[in-house]
């Protein structure tokens, strides 16, 4: 048979040689035939590649850095529009141009930040396709319809952002409502842009695999996995916090650089607004985190234990420390605000501040006390194990939930205190209202503690389903009722001491920067924890990680990467701010030199809930407290 074929070929070849150009073509094709076969083989081989590696740094580490940068930038570009939109609404409702100006200033940053985020997103996608082809093929098969929706949302978001930014000055006056609507659309599309990739990530942790149905039905089923909504809510709130605190940090840095009185006032006020919005988001954030962990436990006990009782449990002690520093930073900033911005009232607030500081510190001490203590052999023997017989009770969730709620409550009181500083209530019912509020606060605090202690003596499900929820509801009740009540009280209140902007010491600027760094570290830390809870699975229980990196890195190694990611992100944000404000500095170069003791025109009045009562528009006064520039040196 073989000989027969050869003969046939031999008899055909002379005919080919006889022809001219076409003959050469066929001849060349014959020469290239092995190449086609090899190409086919190569294609088959390429389809079988599961992983590729990057020499030196390793594929996992590279993905870790790029994905973290993309996520943090995404948090920034999704958080800042919320921040800007809220400021714009406040400016519109109160007719205060400075809020509008602030919103615009931050929207300007979005255009460059948006491009950087997309750039990192593109790099991440290329790297994932190149380094994890098998995983990406599987995810693409399931989620392809969502890729289309994501692309459409991205286009809409981009178009809306351009309209929102470039139309800012045009859409003033009567057109402002339309501009606000654009801001709403911007945030709505941004929410969608956040939610779709969330579904991919949460699918990896808690997959719902449906094999029947159309592509859209399968994708929709996979998106609606058990941890999707908890992560959506948690990230949405966290983005507000990130946006607020980064704005605060920006203001803090500019405040430290400020040379004129006007600049000091402006960036002091901006720092206040950033801190306020950050704190505003931070208060409900632990509740969202608790819900997420509850869903993780309910989805898979193994994963829940890996996170909170297993080898990742130490990350939660670090989390307690970072959240603690954040709460302390936010409160410290409020307290310094009372001392420096409302001169003369500091002494009367000294004792309440000390009491709140003690509550915060005791709460933090409880939160940071691990369940199993780090102890030498001798110490462990003396304790009878790594559980301390007395302080070991602080190591479980009942204690942690209780102190987290108390810290939120104290921070809220700090805010109320700041808001009321330098004001004298004139309403007839003010005395009764204050007495009721005081009594409610004490009752709420006691109720949170009682429920926490009681939680040790009831089955876990009762504590989780009722006691913890009741603690959260008590704190939320206080926040939801006290805010409008205080606003009502402040509406008719008499200002006894005017609020002065631009007097804060330099450590206030550093506090704002520290708060932002803590938030970024927290996001890096908990993002790692969430991702690592899948251990050696790309998709938990469905697709196993068979690469050489299928092990969990040591916690110290992971912590170093988190720090590196935080540093790199801070540098990127600093670069974006520098680029975006380069033009401003050039134009402001000539606006120097307002004398220290000259009358200062303070930017106008404010909505009570957001800025705690500054003078009304157009009010002037002579600065009574000269700024001591050497104070912090």
């Amino acid at each position: 048979m073989k000989n027969h074929d050869t003969l046939k070929l031999q008899s055909w070849l002379p005919k080919v040689k006889a022809s001219s150009l076409s003959g050469w073509s066929v001849f060349l094709a014959f020469l290239l035939l092995p190449a086609f076969v090899w190409a086919q083989d190569a294609a088959t081989l390429a389809m079988q590649v599961e992983y590729r590696d990057v020499p030196g740094i390793g594929s996992r580490n590279l993905i870790w850095i790029v994905a973290q940068q993309h996520l943090l930038l995404a948090g920034f570009v999704l958080g800042v529009p919320i921040f800007a939109w809220i400021c714009e609404i406040v400016g519109w409702k109160t007719n205060e141009p400075r809020y509008d100006k602030l919103a615009k200033e931050f929207t300007k940053l979005l255009t460059s930040a948006y491009a950087t985020t997309a750039l990192f997103g593109g790099i991440l996608l290329f790297l994932l396709i190149g380094l994890y082809p098998k995983l990406m093929a599987y995810l693409s098969d399931i989620f392809f319809p969502s890729f289309i929706a994501y692309s459409i949302l991205f286009l809409l978001e981009t178009a809306t952002l351009y309209l929102y930014w470039y139309g800012w000055d045009v859409m003033q006056g009567k057109k402002k409502v339309f501009h606000l609507f654009l801001g709403f659309l911007l945030n709505l599309f941004a929410l969608g842009i956040m939610m779709i990739p969330n579904s991919w990530a949460t699918f990896q942790a808690s997959p719902v695999v449906v094999t029947d149905g159309t592509a859209i039905e399968r994708a929709w089923a996979a998106m609606q996995n058990p941890t999707w909504w908890p992560v959506n809510i948690h990230r949405f709130i966290a983005n507000i916090v990130l946006g607020g605190f980064i704005c605060g940090a920006y203001a803090g840095v500019r405040y430290l650089q400020a040379v004129t009185k006007e600049e000091r006032e402006r960036y002091d006020w901006m720092g206040y607004v950033g801190n306020f919005i950050g704190v505003f988001g931070m208060l409900p954030l632990p509740f969202a985190g608790y819900w997420l962990m509850r869903e993780v436990y309910q989805y898979n006990q193994q994963m829940g234990i890996t996170l909170m009782g297993g080898f990742l449990a130490w990350l939660f002690i670090l989390q307690a420390m970072l959240i603690g520093v954040l709460f302390l930073g936010a409160n410290y900033y409020f307290w310094m605000g009372i001392t420096y911005r409302v001169p003369g009232v500091a002494e009367s607030y000294k004792k309440p501040i000390l009491a709140m500081l003690i509550v915060l510190m005791v709460s933090l001490a409880v939160w940071m006390t691990p369940h199993s203590l780090v102890a030498s052999l001798q110490e462990a023997r003396q304790m009878g194990g790594t559980h301390h017989p007395l302080l070991g009770v602080f190591g479980v969730m009942s204690a942690k939930m209780t102190v987290a709620n108390l810290m939120i409550l104290v921070t809220f009181i700090s805010f109320l205190m700041y808001w009321r500083a330098g004001k004298q209530e004139t309403a007839a019912w003010a005395k009764i209202a204050k007495a009721v509020m005081g009594a409610l606060l004490v009752i709420a605090g006691l109720a949170v503690i009682v429920l926490g202690v009681w939680g040790y003596f009831v089955p876990a499900i009762i504590r989780i389903n009722y006691f913890s929820v009741a603690q959260v509801l008590i704190v939320l009740f206080i926040m939801v009722t006290f805010t409008p009540l205080t606003a009502l009280l402040m509406k008719s209140a008499k200002t006894t001491t005017e609020m002065i902007w631009g007097q804060m010491p330099v450590r206030a600027g550093y506090t704002l920067v520290s708060n932002a760094v803590m938030v970024i570290l927290l996001m890096s830390l908990m993002g790692y924890a969430r991702s690592s809870s899948r251990v050696h699975w790309h998709i938990y229980g469905v697709m196993r990680d068979t690469s050489e990196y299928a092990y969990s890195p040591a916690l110290g190694y992971a912590a170093a990467f988190m720090s590196l990611n935080t540093f790199v992100f801070c540098m990127i944000v600093a670069f974006i701010f520098w680029v975006a404000t380069m033009g401003d500095k050039a134009t402001q170069g000539t606006e120097h030199g307002q004398p220290e003791d000259s009358p200062v025109k303070i930017p106008g009045g404010v909505a009570p809930a957001i800025a705690g009562g500054s003078p009304r528009e157009g009010q002037t006064f002579v600065n009574p407290v000269p700024m001591n520039k050497n104070e912090d040196t």
Binding site: Q302, M336, L373, A375, L377, E379, H388, G395, A460, R507
Partner: protein
């Protein structure tokens, strides 16, 4: 002499004395790591409180700054300053040396208490109902197999407990089995210390692998007996009764 600096020193010293010497009169001594943590928090609180205003910052940091810079100092004060500059680095060096010098002591442990169970043990439900019969059967199995270590009162104080480090779990403590589902206990009893997962190694558990001695039925029943005896309830996602 009184002032923020003096007050801070008194508060820090007071808290140290309380944690190190007074608290152990009533309970077990605290490990150094925890004392350090609480002192660090106290120090942070003092820093926050005394840097709240310019005046308090001056009275808190001013004396330190003046002492270190030698501003207006003569005679004994100046000698004291020089001594601090000599002694302080030596103290730091000594502390560093004692931390780094080779020692026979084992390093402090950061043990993971609750390893994650393998997938096949997740979500298992106890097939036996909790009633007088199963409770008594469970307690009987417990008495003959578990109580020598975990104690007849379920408190981890069995006659053999002193020989183990870490000691056997105290089931009466609300931080142990009350935090866990029955399926978790089933895994730990059945597979014992040798069945612990590779994540978080090395483990320290002398728990025997009971699957060689007890049937699944007996393990489930001993779980019922343990919870009842320790007056605890297993963690569930469904509310009971």
């Amino acid at each position: 002499m009184k002032g923020p600096l003096f007050n801070s020193a008194v508060v820090l010293a007071g808290i140290y004395v309380f944690l190190k010497f007074i608290l152990p009169l009533f309970t077990a001594p605290l490990p150094a790591s925890l004392i350090f943590l609480y002192l660090a928090l106290t120090f942070s609180a003092l820093m926050i409180f005394y840097t709240m205003s310019g005046e308090s910052l001056e009275s808190f940091m001013g004396p330190v700054q003046r002492f270190l810079t030698g501003e207006g100092q003569t005679g004994v004060a100046n000698i004291a300053r020089v001594l601090v500059f000599i002694v302080f680095p030596l103290l730091v060096g000594w502390q560093t040396y004692t931390k780094l010098a080779p020692s026979d002591d084992p390093p402090p442990e950061s043990r993971t208490i609750h390893p994650a169970p393998p997938g096949e043990f997740v979500g298992l439900a106890n097939p036996y109902p909790k009633n007088n019969q199963t409770i008594q059967e469970g307690k009987g199995i417990y008495a003959s197999n578990c109580s020598p270590c975990h104690g007849e009162n379920f408190d981890g104080k069995g006659i053999a407990a002193v020989g183990f480090n870490p000691p056997p779990a105290n089931f009466a403590d609300s931080g142990t089995i009350a935090q866990l589902q029955e399926s978790y206990l089933f895994w730990r009893i059945k597979k014992g210390g040798v069945g612990l997962p590779i994540e978080g190694m090395p483990w320290k558990s002398a728990m025997p692998r009971w699957e060689n001695e007890l049937s699944d039925e007996k393990i489930w029943k001993v779980i019922i007996g343990e919870f009842d005896g320790a007056h605890q309830s297993p963690r569930t996602w469904e509310e009971e009764e």
